[in-house]
């Protein structure tokens, strides 16, 4: 038997856990008591993360499509086929007819090599990660405003926060270990402010719960900022020393009005006022929101950052901004440049001078124009011009909130899928490359608080499976690239040369302690616990002027309910790892036993008022369209709203006509349907 410290690969918290093995079997996992983030705790997913590796449903041989079925082929045959087809399609249709998407669960090495393959070997910027389908409003807003698109502080620092503001994200269900950090901080005396439409687990423990109508975040933040400015609570010293564009910001803020915002958002004005004062007066206050699966406007992100700047809650321990990455390596794949408009380290592809540095290191000319993003690639095949698509561990059929995605995927001349399982997406592929699972390869991941950590190999993969990164290398070599990486550690060494934030990280030091938090550089070899500690004037933060949004409420007497389409809440229930673990399948998918045809969610009081019981079918009537489905009656959703989970694609299609526009709000009325 052996015990090895590794990193949980489920969500972005990046918990440290031990794997116990006997021979080539994983016996079980348990949390590390000493890991700074999870300190002896892991969630139900962590306790069962190893079940994926031992799942009997794994695919272990490369599969090549022959007509309607697949045929097992040798690895070299599969790689040769892919290389030939990619070359042929590139020569015939040009480099920009190929696209590469990966899952935000791919390792740093996989992500780095996939985008390098696309950019250097193929010659296209058509690269993106799957989460780009839902939301990508944070990276640009954060780069513009604070310069770095990541959590500024460490998760464990929340234990020292005086005030914690959780915006939107249902941490208890989606990042339970982080919810625990927040709750324990609250038990120790921190004040907890929760913003959002849903009354989720953490909202129950909040000191102030600002339950707002959907889409009114920017309005509430603006009103809070007005209170802070009017009461003279802004940190003018910080603003003067370190921020720009304050005047433009303030002039927009002057248009906000507390009572108006209260009416527009449905939040009592006293609550908005108290939250603003509590946050601004705190010595150390943190703001948490999700960048992954929330549909969130650019303005809502900017408004949250403005609040942080206005109160000077940056550059000190226990405060800061946490744009949370929910999948385990969303941070890492973005750092590695799986973005259509940015090279590794967030360098814009259009920046000729800095692109030149990459061209020197990679010894090749790079494409200058930004590529297609995930949404454009998957929906309508980049306006119909894309011919080939490579999906690394990504299963858009089950996880992307897009109608008719199966049809679009079928139209590709070449679809390459790397995955652990035969997913519905893989069923559509021309070539399926099975990949390694948790515990079968040594690679690195970057947590939502910038912690680059190793996941260790503890067992041999079945049937001589190659790690996914090595598969990319092999295809690149067949296409003429002189790539020479013996191990994933070699890939990390190269990452260090092109991404300055990672320059001090290598497998030797990542394997010591508990990884390294970037920036990890030669003058900061131990990494950086929180950003902007240096008090110099070199770092300029930038306020965004956010005009007061128009009131979003279009409900009327005839259509009194607002239909909200959410890609977030039940995300994990569709997850492929969850589907292949006995316990997780049960815990995350029992809702589908209770509501076999799916559900929309309705507030308990609303349900009582119209006489609808839990599980009863209802008809959603909009001005032009209608849909029928079961009601799940719960106190979690706000009165006057109906929540449509993203997997209810029929409802979406009937109500919105299949545009896949999850941000859309639609006024409806409810009619009872005869059972």
């Amino acid at each position: 038997m052996a015990h090895r410290l590794t990193t949980c690969t489920f969500c972005g918290v990046g918990c440290g856990l031990y794997v116990e093995t006997a021979g080539n079997h994983i016996l079980g996992v348990y949390p590390s008591v000493s890991h700074p983030t999870n300190q002896g705790k892991i969630c139900v997913r962590g306790w069962h993360v190893h079940e994926v590796a031992s799942s009997p449903d794994r695919i272990t041989r490369p599969l090549l499509r022959t007509g309607r079925s697949f045929q097992e082929v040798s690895w070299e045959e599969a790689f040769g086929y892919i290389a030939d087809r990619l070359r042929e399609i590139r020569d015939r249709h040009g480099a920009n007819s190929l696209a590469f998407l990966n899952s935000p669960r791919c390792s740093n090495e996989e992500a780095y090599l996939l985008q390098k393959f696309a950019r250097c070997v193929i010659g296209t910027n058509n690269v993106h990660h799957g989460t780009g389908v839902y939301c990508n409003n944070s990276i640009n807003a954060l780069i513009d405003m604070v310069g770095i698109p990541a959590s500024t502080n460490s998760l464990q620092e929340l234990a020292d926060s005086e005030v914690i503001l959780v915006d939107g994200v249902d941490l208890g269900r989606r990042m339970p270990t982080l919810a625990g950090v927040v709750l324990r901080a609250k038990l120790k005396g921190a004040r907890l402010i929760v913003l959002g439409t849903r009354r989720h687990r953490l909202a129950e423990s909040a000191d102030l719960f600002l339950q707002m109508k959907p889409g009114t975040e920017a309005l509430v933040y603006g009103a809070m900022q007005k209170v802070i400015v009017d009461r003279g609570l802004a940190d003018l010293h910080f603003i003067k020393a370190r921020c720009s564009n304050y005047d433009a910001f303030v002039s927009e803020i002057s248009h906000y009005d507390l009572l108006q915002a209260a009416e527009g958002s449905g939040v009592a004005p006293e609550l908005i006022e108290s939250a603003a004062i509590l946050y601004a007066k705190a010595a150390r206050a943190a703001v948490l929101y999700s960048t992954s699966m929330e549909d969130r406007s650019r303005e809502a992100v900017q408004a949250a950052v403005n609040l942080v700047l206005l109160s000077g809650q940056l550059g000190k321990k226990g405060s800061g901004l946490f744009p949370l990455c929910e999948q385990n390596n969303l941070q890492g794949v973005c750092d590695m440049g799986m973005l259509p408009d940015r090279l590794p380290g967030y360098i814009p592809v259009a920046d000729a001078a800095r692109r030149g540095t990459f061209e020197e290191i990679w010894r090749t000319k790079l494409p200058e124009d930004p590529g297609h993003g995930a949404r454009s690639i998957l929906w309508q095949r980049g306006n119909g011009i894309l011919k080939a698509l490579w999906l690394a561990r990504y299963d858009p059929v089950q996880t992307a909130f897009l109608p008719e995605i199966t049809d679009y995927l079928r139209q590709f001349e070449l679809l390459v899928v790397q995955h652990v399982f035969m997913t519905p997406t893989a069923e559509l592929a021309h070539v399926v490359l099975p990949t390694t699972a948790f515990g079968e390869e040594q690679v690195s991941f970057t947590s939502t608080d910038r912690r680059i950590q190793l996941a260790e190999q503890v067992v041999e993969p079945p049937g001589g499976l190659l790690p996914a990164w090595a598969q990319i290398v092999r295809v690149a070599q067949l296409m003429g690239a002189a790539w020479n990486y013996a191990t994933a550690a070699d890939v990390m060494d190269e990452i260090g040369t092109v991404v300055p934030l990672y320059s001090g990280a290598n497998y030797e030091n990542l394997g010591r302690d508990y990884g390294r938090q970037w920036p990890c550089t030669s003058d900061r070899p131990l990494g950086t616990q929180f950003l902007f500690a240096e008090n110099g004037t070199s770092r300029k933060f930038h306020f965004a002027a956010v005009p007061k949004p128009a009131l979003a409420d279009h409900t009327s007497k005839e259509f009194p309910f607002m239909l909200v389409f959410g890609s977030s809440l039940y995300y994990w229930s569709q997850n492929v790892l969850v589907r292949h673990s006995e316990t997780l399948k049960r815990e995350y998918r029992w809702l589908f036993l209770d509501y076999p045809d799916g559900f929309v969610e309705l507030n308990t009081a609303d349900a009582a008022a119209i006489g609808v019981r839990d599980g009863q079918p209802i008809r959603l009537m909009a001005e032009r369209n209608f849909a029928t489905c079961a009601a799940r009656v719960t106190d979690e959703v706000m009165k006057g709203t109906i929540f449509v989970p993203y997997f209810m694609s029929d409802v979406e299609r009937q109500m919105l006509g299949g545009t896949g526009n999850g941000a859309c709000l639609l006024p409806v009325r409810i009619e009872k349907e005869a059972a």
Partner: protein, 357 residues
């Protein structure tokens, strides 16, 4: 009492004695930081065995109820169905198991073997298990922030249910035999005649250690009374439930928790394996019934189940042993700090407050 003295330099030779008798010996090792674990002793790691260290978090109960355990295999072979029992019979010795975990195994014995139908899988593991209990004497290393075995009356020195007990007296160890198999070891020359000075020193060290626990406010018997008499209000349970994020960790790390689920997994085109997996009463899918009805639908209704099971008189009487052994793991594993010590405190405060009114 059958006691002997062992020189400090000889104490690891007990591992060799057990190996010579055909036991796979499991002993505690230091991982990274304060992390520790039980692992199989081999010539490569024998020198790294630690006598004083934080009690391993992943509980040794997995040697009697594994985290995942194959129960049987159903095989299809030329149209015939064959069912074969899985499982291994292995002689194992746990060297360095703490008193709380010894009490845990005793509790599991009573649960799995103590009534009409014995659990054969458990029995197979248990009958071949040799327990070498190490008494917690090093206040810095052995006794954690969350330990409260004083309150559950299970430590720091176990009174029974071990085969051999060792206690560090500083310059030598005192060994106490708790079974015939343990006593049989005393034939080896490393065991010397017990001295009066040794017995005296043992008592003095134990007296001193008892006063150096960090968590001693666990009002156990009061909590047992409040829970058994139904004096814990719904509001208190709700408050406790609100702090549970349903990870299942408290059940997994508990030396006395017995919940499991059974699942049939496809293991190949012609084979299905039936496995038993650790489970937790805190999980919604565990309490949900096949028809969809969940008698414990709200989180706090599930969460309080754990404390009824451990603190209610009915269960204590049924097994003549309490399903909490004071190891403190649940306090360390809990995201919302509703491990046993905190809950006992919450119950006591709320119920005592109500009684005074």
């Amino acid at each position: 009492v059958k006691a002997r003295m062992v020189a400090s330099s000889d104490v690891l030779k007990i591992v060799d004695l057990l190996q010579a008798r055909g036991y796979e010996v499991i002993a505690p090792f230091l991982g990274r930081g304060r992390d520790t674990y039980f692992d199989t002793v081999s010539p490569d790691n024998r020198a790294q065995i630690k006598i004083h260290l934080p009690n391993p978090y992943y509980p040794p109960k997995r040697y009697v109820i594994p985290h995942i355990e194959p129960l049987l295999q159903i095989k299809r072979d030329n149209g015939n169905i064959r069912i074969e029992a899985a499982g291994e019979e292995k002689k194992r010795a746990l060297f360095g198991i703490r008193s709380c975990d010894v009490a845990g195994i005793d509790h599991l014995d009573r649960f799995f073997l103590g009534r009409e139908f014995g659990d054969v899988y458990y029995q197979n593991h248990r009958k071949n298990l040799f327990l070498v209990n190490m008494v917690c004497t090093d206040v810095e290393q052995d006794i954690g922030q969350e330990c409260f075995c004083l309150c559950t009356d299970t430590g720091p020195a176990a009174r029974d249910h071990f085969d051999l007990q060792l206690m560090d007296l500083g310059d030598e160890f005192m060994a106490v035999a708790g079974s015939a198999a343990g006593e049989e070891l005393f034939a080896a020359p490393i065991f010397k005649k017990a001295t009066l000075a040794g017995v005296d020193k043992r008592r003095k060290i134990l007296d001193a250690v008892r006063h150096q626990f960090k968590t001693t406010t666990s009002w156990f018997s009061a909590a047992v009374r409040y829970v058994s008499q139904g004096k814990v209000s719904e509001k208190t349970w709700e408050e406790i439930g609100l702090r549970c994020f349903e990870c299942g960790g408290c059940s997994y790390v508990c030396p006395a928790c017995t919940c499991f689920t059974i699942s049939d997994r496809k293991a190949g085109p012609n084979q299905v394996d039936r496995v038993r997996i650790w489970d937790s009463c805190g999980l919604g899918g565990f309490t949900r019934m096949a028809g969809g009805f969940n008698p414990r639908r709200a989180v706090h209704d599930r969460r309080n189940r754990r404390f009824f099971r451990k603190l209610a008189h009915y269960f204590i009487q049924r097994e003549l042993s309490m399903a909490c052994v004071g190891c403190g793991r649940c306090a360390a594993v809990c995201h919302g700090d509703v491990g046993m010590p905190s809950v006992v405190e919450m119950i006591r405060r709320a119920a005592a407050g109500a009684e005074q009114q």
